[in-house]
């Protein structure tokens, strides 16, 4: 039994890292949103599995949030925003896709090395889980850094947050997991609904983060 649970959890975590790589690869906004939905779905499966293994019922709530909010509601909302604002669909990446992928691989290697130094007596599942979580976080951060468009930055941030949820659920018996995931989803909701629809559009014609930066307080 122990072997199977370890393998499945391991599979889900690996799947999450793989999807993060796919997200780095996308350069269309719609495709990016779909891949993000996929990632959220894989996350909810992993959390559900962890709930099953650790027979911790509260994790099911987190899995549900991940599934409903992040897999369905937010991608659809973003989809409609992208359509209504008519922001151009092409996602301008700062650095070429090839270079981003290379950086991604280096980051995963780095998180593996960092996590391997952790001594063995912590059970291997936790160590593997953390390594994957760290890679998803770093990839999410890389995503935010290499995209010009505000929408893709938010997607990067959300994938980073997925990594966090993966780490949190991986830690057996961690309290407050549900509260934290709720806090984060409130955060994300605030972003998507409050900031975007109400204010950013009211002031700027494009949500290209570059436009935001030009309105600087101390422009020379």
């Amino acid at each position: 039994m122990h072997g199977l649970t370890f393998d499945v959890a391991h599979m889900f975590a690996g799947g999450l890292v793989l999807v993060s790589f796919m997200m780095l690869y996308q350069d269309r906004l719609y495709a990016l949103l779909n891949v993000f939905a996929l990632q959220a779905f894989v996350l909810s499966l992993s959390v559900a599995w962890q709930a099953l293994v650790q027979d911790a019922p509260h994790l099911y709530v987190t899995a549900a949030i991940a599934l409903i909010l992040k897999a369905i509601v937010i991608p659809v909302a973003l989809h409609r925003i992208v359509a209504r604002l008519g922001i151009h669909r092409e996602v301008e990446t700062v650095v070429g896709v090839g270079l981003t992928m290379l950086a991604g691989i280096a980051l995963v290697a780095l998180s593996m090395v960092v996590m391997l130094r952790v001594t063995g007596e912590a059970d291997p599942l936790a160590r593997e889980d953390l390594a994957f979580a760290l890679s998803v976080i770093l990839l999410g951060l890389l995503m935010m850094v290499t995209r010009r468009n505000a929408v893709s930055q938010i997607v990067g941030f959300m994938s980073l947050e997925n990594g966090l949820i993966l780490a949190a659920t991986g830690a057996k018996g961690m309290p407050l997991v549900v509260e934290i995931s709720v806090a984060f989803s409130v955060l994300i909701a605030l972003i998507v609904i409050g900031i975007f629809l109400f204010r950013i559009r009211e002031r700027f014609d494009t949500v290209d983060v570059g436009a935001l930066d030009r309105a600087r307080g101390e422009r020379l």
Partner: protein, 666 residues
């Protein structure tokens, strides 16, 4: 317990400052402040003189929590307290009269007593924290005073350069105290005396103290703020800053190097001597190039500080080679000059203040002929000029004579470095003395003698009684100390014994009060006899001629070589008076270049002569630093205008870097 009396005086001064801050508007308060600070400083002066044999110390629960604030009054502190409070009393007395002309008194009154309190506190402080706290408080109060006339544009620059240099000095002292206190931080001076730092640390501490105390005193490379700040302050404050605050800096140097730094090694004297000699000559050369009276006096302060540091350097060299008798002579010469300089420099700045009040002018080119309109000020100014130029019957000569005797003792020093350095420094000292005489002939001659060059100088009128009394007292003191140097030398004996272990032979015992540096036969100088001898022969000659020669006297226009109506402008001005010296010395030191603009014949444009001086200190040290900082500031300023994405990448790189460090950590 005189230290308690001192602390009460400091508290009183701070109280006066608070009262002044609150009630600066009311005229009654305005006049009372200077009177009150005069009273308190005289009490402090008396307490400092009436020091019982043993030194008294006290610890208050203030300052660093686990050490408390230590205060101590020993022989060295008593002498410097006497000098400071004498200067402070004279400045307060002068302030009573001079303060009336201040049109924004609320900017000067609160900070004047605070400045005095800060200086007194530095002297009695006996642990690193209290010392630096009062040192910086003194700089802060004097910065506020320099900013009193903040409306003139270059005062703001003077204030800024001053406070920046002051904080450089404080950080140097702070680092020196850090080394002295050691890692576990025992900051009390008594603890510092117990442990002696290794020779390398001692060298670093000496360098840092030279930087710290030197920048406040005005040693040459660090002097740039002094000629900007001192003239910017009101005159009685510039007198305090020049005559007294520089002495606090010297006290700081002596306290750390002679007292806290443990056994002296001979090579400590070398940097001090070199810097002292350089400061003396360059200081007075700068003074000769200036046309603003108060800047001339500020630069001449730098020269006198150089003289004092030469004395201290010699004392260090002698003490390092354990020759206490010679060391005592050199240290007495230095401390004697500290006392003298406080006297005549304050008198000179009071004179400059009186001229400023009477004519509203500081530029010497626009003064002249004031001796006829301000007789008393001119007499006091003349005595002070004679004293600072080290003319025999006055006090300037007495301390310089001791310094030369100390130099003559130095062939006994074994080290080769000193054998070559001391004669060179002796030559620099002699050159500086001669240049000082030239500088003050120029200052007195251009300002007080000749014909008034502007209407302002013509309508000058004598200043009020208080200022005259203050100047008079200081001038008379210069004469008395010049005639009876033995009194001051014996007064200094306990200080010198405490620091160098030996003292000069007692002067009172010697017949006719002759000053004997080392041994009776060696050489001696008798101020009293020289004064009596000159006075007698002068009055004898005047009496004889008055009786025998004719009394007839007729006024007639001066010989003008046939020129129709010689206007006052044809007289020699400060710049033309210094022209020969500028050509001889200035062309090397300051790259002095004269640019003559002579219009072609028939062109009615006035001809003009412009002198361009390049200040080596600004050019090679301060301007490069300023450009370096502004270039760095420009380059880093771009970081303010990046996009959010680039800021995120900053965070990202930081994270990756740290993780890499963790991964590679052994």
């Amino acid at each position: 317990m005189p230290v308690v009396v001192e602390l009460w005086c400091v508290a009183a001064l701070l109280a006066i400052a608070v009262v002044a801050a609150v009630g600066a508007r009311m005229p009654l308060i305005r006049r009372g402040i200077y009177g009150a600070s005069l009273a308190v400083t005289t009490v402090a002066f008396a307490a400092a003189l009436a020091l019982p044999a043993d030194d008294s110390h006290i610890t208050l629960p203030l300052g660093l929590p686990w050490i408390g604030a230590h205060f101590r009054l020993d022989a060295l502190a008593a002498f410097f307290l006497a000098v400071i409070n004498l200067g402070g009393a004279a400045a307060s007395l002068y302030g009573i009269g001079y303060g009336q002309h201040e049109h924004e008194p609320q900017r000067v009154l609160p900070f004047f007593p605070a400045f005095l309190a800060g200086m007194n506190l530095v002297i009695v402080a006996d642990d690193a924290f209290t010392f630096l706290l009062s040192w910086e408080f003194m700089s802060l109060a004097s910065w506020a005073l320099v900013m009193a006339h903040h409306r003139e544009p270059d005062n703001a620059r003077a204030g800024y350069v001053y406070i920046l240099m002051a904080s450089v000095g404080t950080f140097a002292l702070l680092l020196a105290f850090g080394l002295l206190a050691g890692p576990d931080g025992n900051y009390a001076f008594s603890a510092m005396r117990a442990q002696t730092p290794p020779p390398l640390f001692a060298g670093i501490i000496l360098g840092l103290v030279l930087l710290g105390a030197g920048s406040k005193a005005g040693l040459v490379p660090l002097h740039v703020w002094l000629p900007l700040a001192h003239p910017a302050a009101p005159s009685h404050v510039s007198a305090l800053m020049s005559g007294v605050m520089t002495k606090v800096a010297i006290y700081g140097f002596i306290r750390i190097v002679f007292d806290l730094l443990g056994p002296t090694s001979w090579w400590w004297g070398v940097p001090v001597l070199a810097v002292g000699g350089g400061t003396a000559t360059l200081g007075v050369l700068y003074a000769l190039m200036q046309n603003d009276l108060k800047r001339v006096l500020a630069y001449s302060t730098i020269e006198n500080i150089g003289l004092i540091f030469v004395g201290l350097g010699l004392a260090l060299a002698f003490k390092g080679n354990d020759m206490p008798a010679a060391g005592a002579l050199a240290l007495t010469a230095a401390l004697f000059h500290v006392f003298n300089h406080a006297l005549f420099k304050s008198a000179l700045f009071f004179g400059a203040g009186a001229v400023l009040t009477a004519t509203g002018e500081r530029q010497m080119e626009r003064l002249g002929g004031l001796i006829h309109r301000m007789p008393v000020t001119s007499v006091a100014f003349l005595v002070a000029c004679a004293a600072i130029s080290a003319l025999p019957p006055l006090n300037g000569f007495a301390s310089e004579w001791l310094a030369f005797q100390a130099i003559l003792l130095s062939p006994q020093l074994p080290q080769w470095g000193l054998k070559l350095l001391v004669p060179a420094v002796g030559a620099l000292l002699a050159l500086a003395a001669a240049l000082a005489a030239a500088c003050f002939v120029r200052a007195f001659g251009i300002v007080f003698l000749g014909r008034p060059r502007t209407p302002a100088a013509e309508q000058a009128v004598e200043v009020d009684r208080w200022s005259l009394v203050a100047m008079g007292i200081l001038a008379v003191l210069c004469i008395i100390v010049g005639i009876l140097p033995g009194l001051v030398i014996d007064g200094l004996a306990p200080v010198v014994t405490a620091l160098v272990g030996d003292r000069m032979p007692a002067q009172l015992g010697v017949p006719w009060l002759t000053t004997v540096p080392i041994v009776e036969s060696r050489s001696s100088y008798n101020g009293l006899l020289v004064f009596l001898f000159t006075a007698a022969s002068a009055s004898l000659a005047a009496f004889a001629i008055h009786r025998l020669a004719s009394q007839a006297l007729r006024r007639a226009p001066a010989w003008d070589c046939g020129f129709p109506d010689p206007s006052p402008v044809t007289q020699y001005t400060a710049a033309s008076f210094a022209q020969p010296i500028r050509r001889v010395f200035g062309s090397y030191v300051f790259q002095a270049r004269e640019h003559v603009d002579m219009p072609p014949p028939g062109d009615m444009r006035p001809a003009s002569l412009a002198v361009k001086l390049r200040d080596p200190a600004w050019e090679f040290i301060y301007t490069p630093i300023k450009t370096a900082v502004s270039v760095a500031a420009d380059r880093l300023n771009l970081l303010q205008f990046l996009t959010i994405r680039s800021y995120l990448s900053l965070v990202f790189f930081a994270l990756v870097l740290l993780l890499l460090v963790l991964a590679l950590w052994p």
